[in-house]
Amino acid sequence: MMSHASAALSRRRLLALGGVSLALAHFPRPASAAAARDPRLIVVVLRGALDGLSAVAPIGDPDYVALRGALALSPIGDKPALPLDGFFALHPAMPVFARLYKEGRASVVHAVATSYRDRSHFDGQDVLESGYAGPGHTESGWLNRAVFALQAAEPARRRGLGVGAAPPLVMRGPAPTLGWAPQVLPPAGEDLAQRVLDLYTHSDPVLGAALRAGLDADRIAAAGGLTGDMAKARGGMDQPNGMRQAAMGAARLLATPDGPRVAALAFDGWDTHANENGLLATRLAGLDGALEEFEKGLGEAWKDTAVVAITEFGRTARINGTGGTDHGAASVAFLAGGAVKGARIIADWPGLKTSQLYQGRDLAPTHDLRAVLKGLLADQFGLPAQALAEKAFPDSAAVAQMSGLIAG
């Protein structure tokens, strides 16, 4: 269903479907790179607040195991964490990222956060995607405004077609964008289903029983040999096949010589308040699969591509009473792609002692995520500092762009 704003949006030829949207434009060649370079940037928004301490675990920190208990990753055992450097290890659900890291095509920024320090998903995602320092800005996103600034610097021939629903906020705004989505819109994810079931348990057992039976039947049907495209279409954006499918489609379009150069996707289900071990493994496997699809689908263009996966905030350093974690502060950002200067963990490690935690409970932010994103935009597309500080990330002049993220 379209909003009232849709007429205005279609006038601007802003088009998108489902969880993926892509800016379609010819970019000016960045002054800083070789003329043959044709850079791509893919932004993956992880909605729900990724637990950075479980995704990229500081196994070398003396306080880590005591703090994380049953969630602590270990370099030994039946599901050993994947070593990155001596201090950090990667969640075992991400072998593709581990390989890319080894090949020098992936890196991690740790203890990173936006400027938002409260703990509402809605406001946190608005800050993450709008690029503003505080909540309350939902009309456009930093990625779109960056694209728009590039086009303003060197008017480009604009193309773009399609009709669709809401792109992630990060991609909405004045620059024309193209939309794409899997033909069958992804169904509701497991996390949403569980939340609705929980609500019914308390307040409407009749609807709850019916919904539970319907979901069970669906699961049995999916397990009973529905394969190929049929099965793919059943994966929500919090499931590995849904994430893979979205990435595959985005990569195909980004690989087109005159296709889009910037894409934004949103993956759901990172709000791991309970049973985090199983849930997070599924989500991270999905993200890892998406990276594999990007690499495969982009082909030649992969060498000029940077993918960045970001989240609205992190989670509590301690585990809670239900095998999960609650809303926190700093988390990680994943960088991957042929253009990335990899095999590095970029961290100013704050430590995990209670006195070192933010408000005594969360991993403390020591890097501003905007610095990372500014660095990517500058190195990939040559966006000047002024545009970064005024257009993409308003009022961020004091946040210096992080240099050297892209292999030069």
């Binding site: 009232h4 998903h121 979901l215």
Partner: protein
């Protein structure tokens, strides 16, 4: 603003009887929930839907006839050309220009225009959705939908009904939804959409001029459904003989075909030479032979039959109150129906007069159609294209004007809240949520939709969601939003 005096009353007015709250509706209804509904009910012409974009049924059907005629002629032209080519063999064929475009057909592909029946159908769907989404309480639109489903036609019957279903609702249902049931019955059973859907245009009196000549006979389909579904109801005291008698009485009730000289194409005609002569006895009463008026007289009596009053009262109470409706409500509705000569506005007032109607638990859930409209009203997200709305209705098993049979869409909880239905509803809630931009804080949407009647559990589930779309989807699936 004054303190909300009756949050549950407002929720009942808007959910049980209406189509859900738009911003501010709950507050507007809270002071006097019953008065809120009565105010809408008494507004002049409130049930009508006329728009310049919509065609009368005869005009719409003429457009369909013309389109079918054009396609037929084109097929014939192509076949003529093929025949010519096949007959050219030997030297004549060798000399003929190989890929010459056939005469009268240019080689260019036609621009992809949607078929006429689809264009008309979509315009009707959009106008209906807009009317539902913008209605004050939606009580009148609920009544319209109820009667439309009571007198169900299905577009699955073919292009004819696809074109005529929208006009049927606007011409036969809406003008009488707050008028007399007898008038609605007369309008429905003489409408081309119903005549075609239940085959009365094929029913020929065996003793009529046409019947004797062609050796064809009755089709009882419409007559049976009039008695079984539209009026008396199963167990309403009629026999097979009554079905046959009514079928004889309404022979000749038909519509004018494309080339007809009997009447305006696409409009009702009475084919006198198809009409069965004689004075059959229906429900113990003999109807003298008066041609077309014989059927009108019979319908007028059936409409006022006590069994009809009880049948309709039960269905109305089941739709609005509970699958097993409280007897006092059914009796009150039937009494009003009998005492007012089937005044449906009076019946609707009786429905909301009873205290039982306001104290009964929320034991039903919204139909898929009501669900989509309520979502649009709560979020302000209206489709600018009917495609999404129609697709979601299809996905939830309630395709517009396409019920499984002449008994309409199911109206009981076990069908509406079946496991598969609930799973599909969850998927649709998620799709709506993903497509809704700029809804503001999800809790403000919850305030719009349920206000103070929202439970603590729902409020918490919405505020703890991991994203705005997820929060909205939970809200749309919450008991406060689903139940009515």
């Amino acid at each position: 603003m004054a303190v909300d005096p009756d949050p549950r009353g407002a929720l009942i007015a808007l959910n049980r009887f209406g189509l859900g709250a738009k911003p501010g509706d709950l507050a507007a209804a809270a002071a006097d929930p019953r008065g809120f509904l009565l105010e809408e009910l008494r507004r002049t012409g409130v049930a009508r839907l006329d728009a310049a974009s919509l065609a009368l049924s005869n005009v719409a059907l003429q457009a369909l006839f013309a389109d079918q005629q054009e396609k037929r002629m084109e097929r014939e032209r192509v076949m003529a050309v093929e025949t010519t080519r096949v007959s050219m063999v030997g030297p004549a064929a060798a000399m003929a220009a190989p890929a010459a475009p056939p005469p009268g057909v240019d080689g260019k592909p036609k621009p992809q225009e949607p078929p006429v029946e689809q264009k008309l159908f979509r315009a009707e769907a959009m106008a209906r959705f807009d009317k539902q989404a913008s209605a004050q309480a939606g009580f009148v639109e609920r009544l319209v939908a109820f009667w439309s489903n009571h007198f169900a036609v299905s577009v699955a019957k073919g292009q004819f009904v696809r074109v005529a279903a929208g006009p049927f609702e606007r011409e036969a249902i809406r003008p009488h939804a707050l008028g007399r049931f007898a008038d609605m019955l007369a309008a429905v059973e003489s409408h081309p959409a119903m005549l075609f859907y239940l085959d009365n245009q094929r029913s020929i009196g065996p003793g009529s001029a046409a019947g004797r000549f062609a050796g064809k006979g009755l089709n009882e389909n419409l007559a049976r459904e009039i008695l079984e579904l539209h009026t008396l109801g199963v167990g309403g005291g009629y026999s097979q003989a009554d079905v046959t008698a009514l079928a004889r009485i309404i022979t000749g009730w038909s519509f004018a075909e494309a080339e007809s000289e009997a009447g305006e194409p696409g409009g009702f005609v009475f084919k006198a030479n198809w009409h069965e002569p004689g004075a059959p006895t229906l429900l113990g009463k003999s109807y003298p032979q008066t041609g077309r008026d014989q059927g009108a007289a019979a319908l007028a009596d059936i409409a006022r039959h006590p069994a009809t009053a009880t049948h309709l009262a039960t269905k109305l109470a089941r739709h609005f109150i509970a699958d097993a409706p409280p007897k006092p409500i059914v009796e009150a509705l039937a009494k009003t129906f009998r005492e007012t000569d089937g005044d449906l506005a009076a019946v609707a007032e009786t429905l909301i007069e009873s205290d039982l109607a306001w104290s009964a638990p929320f034991s039903k859930i919204r139909t898929p159609d009501e669900f989509l409209v309520a979502a649009a009203r709560a979020t302000g997200a209206l489709p600018n294209d009917p495609g999404q709305y129609l697709n979601m209705l299809n996905a939830m098993g309630m395709p517009l004007w396409q019920p499984p049979g002449p008994n309409g869409y199911p109206d009981r909880l076990d069908a509406l809240a079946s496991p598969e239905a609930m799973k599909l509803r969850l998927d649709v809630a998620w799709q709506i949520a993903q497509r809704s931009k700029d809804i503001g804080h999800p809790l403000s949407v919850l305030d719009t939709a349920a206000g103070l009647a929202a439970s603590r559990e729902t409020r918490e589930a919405v505020s703890r969601a991991e994203s705005r779309p997820q929060a909205l989807a939970i809200l749309l699936m919450s008991p406060e939003f689903q139940r009515r």
